[in-house]
């Protein structure tokens, strides 16, 4: 009797949870879905089918790529997306190149000095970047880094969170493997490359994701350091669309779809690996 009641109760609870999840999922997906669908309409049709809403609000039966052609022809946002791709891949590559050896050193060469140095890394990662973007901007300008890829990339490559994540993961590598490799005469760099890196791929994917998302979504810093049209990145270019006198909503939504979906795809792809490495980092455990 009580068992049956608890079974009923459990079913109700599951139903409630599905409902909550479904509402959350709808709220998460609808804005982007609407943007993508609308970007496939002709520019004049974007604000149609809204009064009243119909199934056609969220579906397009005759998709057209007009807006994407405009986007390509316009040059401005095309260049901006290219700039975003360049600065983001530069950030991921340089960021990993800096973070992986540092994390390795913090794990393998343990000493009081290294521990103090690591505390210092932690402190620097508690400084929120947006808060110091304005003072850093004036320094970078005086160094002549305004309107350059280097100016866009450099502040993003020193990422304390990426180092932290990798370090937590590197701790999981059995010390015997390191000792075996060393006694075979492998150099420290060789140990890192052929023992730690292959064993910690999920953490490296996680660190790459952190670096990627940080740079791809960055808005305030590019606005300050790279205002020239040929160095504008995608988020800034999109923002500038809004201020224009005659807004082409079709092209704007197409730009938003491209800029928005690319990292989301990367993110969802990396999510399972990222979750695993976060769980091991102890950051959330």
């Amino acid at each position: 009797m009580s068992a049956r009641r608890s079974a009923t109760r459990r079913r109700t609870a599951t139903r409630c949870m599905v409902l909550v999840a479904a509402v959350g999922a709808a709220y998460s997906l609808l804005p982007m879905w609407w943007a993508v669908v609308s970007s496939l309409r002709s520019p004049s049709a974007i604000f149609q089918n809204l009064y009243p809403l119909s199934s056609r609000t969220l579906w397009v039966s005759h998709p057209t790529l007009t807006n994407y052609h405009t986007l390509g022809a316009d040059g401005f946002i095309g260049v901006a997306i290219r700039n975003s791709l360049i600065s983001t891949s530069g950030t991921v590559l340089l960021g990993l190149l800096i973070a992986i050896p540092a994390a390795f050193a913090f794990v393998v060469f343990d000493s009081r000095f290294m521990r103090a140095l690591f505390v210092f890394v932690l402190i620097s990662f508690l400084v929120p970047f947006e808060a110091i973007a304005i003072p850093l901007g004036s320094t970078f300008r005086s160094l002549g880094l305004e309107n350059s890829y280097l100016g866009l990339i450099l502040p993003a490559v020193g990422n304390g969170m990426a180092i932290f994540l990798l370090r937590q993961f590197f701790f999981g590598v059995p010390i015997e493997l390191l000792e075996a490799a060393r006694s075979d005469g492998a150099s420290w760099l060789r140990v890192l490359r052929s023992v730690y890196v292959p064993l910690c791929r999920p953490a490296i994917v996680g660190a790459a994701t952190i670096l990627f998302v940080f740079q791809w979504q960055s808005f305030l810093w590019p606005l300050i350091i790279a205002p020239a049209p040929n160095f504008t990145v995608a988020p800034v270019a999109l923002g500038e669309f809004v201020g224009e006198f005659q807004v082409n909503y079709g092209a704007m939504l197409a730009g938003a779809a491209v800029t928005g979906l690319l990292p989301a795809l990367v993110f969802v792809g990396a999510q399972s690996m990222f979750n695993r490495s976060l769980a091991r980092s102890g950051l959330v455990g």
Partner: protein, 312 residues
């Protein structure tokens, strides 16, 4: 956090069957030292130059006054007084405080609800988990642009209200609704992001604890308050702190959609600082304002740490 093991390496710098001669040992020590320097220096230098140095410089420069002919002179706290007397700053501070008091609890409660729901074992949970995380990867400028169009007077959100028989709303054009609209926009990204951290925490709670609670006859709510919530303390503290800081620094929606308006109703601190530095050209005042804004934020974060510290 520490897992040990590395101690073994420190105590055994020489690995191998034979005991090497003194010169070899010294050479190895040198190689090791050089390796440490080569591996750690790039990261440390970048962190100093792009994180710590600008922080120190901001504090230092905020004490210097800009003169009209160019150049600066020491002014002590004069910039701070100038900013503190500015009514635009005071209104902005109020707006940002209201924003923070609403947006942080809103996002954390929602993230917690989704994290708990998505960690339960039911068919299809993985699908919803991926979908709800999706906005976390979308750049804020993209979300802002899409919501900016969706919230227009002739946009789809008003179309939806129309279908429900409700009057259309001005949203971003109204001093009463603009801040609430911005809260909804930043939460679209924020909630998904914080769910990631909380789902991990919920899944790490041993199922045996729930089973024990069930044997004691605990219902769903009872289990939530006596098992889930206490064991989520660490990730919750992290999310609370990180969310508070993130929301204290919201900038893109204001810059793109409202420029602080209408009527100063969305003049969040970061936008006011940016405005002061780049539109008014008062860089040193802006630095003073940054310091003045970060001190209360750091204080609030410190209080959160104290109140929620695990094992107290």
């Amino acid at each position: 956090m520490e897992k040990g093991g590395s101690v073994a390496v420190r105590n055994a710098p020489v690995i191998g069957a034979r005991q090497p001669r003194r010169g070899v040992y010294a050479r190895r020590m040198w190689i090791k030292r050089l390796t440490i320097v080569a591996f750690v220096t790039p990261a440390v230098v970048m962190l100093v130059l792009t994180r710590l140095w600008p922080t120190a410089e901001a504090i230092y420069d905020s004490l210097f006054r800009q003169s009209l002919i160019g150049g600066t002179s020491f002014g002590g706290l004069a910039n701070y007084v100038t900013v503190a007397k500015d009514p635009v700053f005071l209104k902005g501070l109020t707006v940002t405080a209201i924003f923070g008091l609403i947006v942080n609890p809103f996002q954390i409660v929602l993230a917690l609800v989704f994290a708990v729901v998505l960690s339960e074992r039911w068919r299809g949970a993985w699908f919803f988990r991926t979908v709800i995380l999706f906005p976390a990867g979308v750049p804020s400028a993209v979300a802002v642009v899409i919501f900016g169009i969706a919230l227009r007077p002739d946009g789809p959100v008003n179309g939806f209200l129309h279908d429900l028989g409700l009057p259309s709303q001005p949203f971003l054009n109204s001093p009463d609704q603009a801040l609430a609209s911005i809260i909804l926009i930043v939460s679209w990204i924020g909630v998904g992001y914080w769910v990631i951290f909380l789902v991990g925490g919920v899944q790490d709670i041993p199922t045996t604890l729930y089973e024990a609670a069930e044997i004691d006859g605990a219902g769903w709510w009872k289990k939530f308050f006596s098992v889930t919530l206490p064991l989520l303390r660490r990730p919750l503290l992290f999310v609370l702190v990180a969310d508070t800081i993130a929301n204290a620094l919201v900038f893109a929606p204001v810059q793109i959609l409202t420029q602080g308006g209408p009527d100063g109703s969305t003049n969040l601190m970061m936008y006011d600082i940016y405005q002061r530095a780049y539109q008014q050209g008062a860089l040193n005042d802006a630095l003073a304002e940054t310091v003045m804004w970060l001190i209360p934020v750091i204080l609030i974060v410190a209080i959160q740490f104290r109140l929620l510290r695990p094992n107290t």
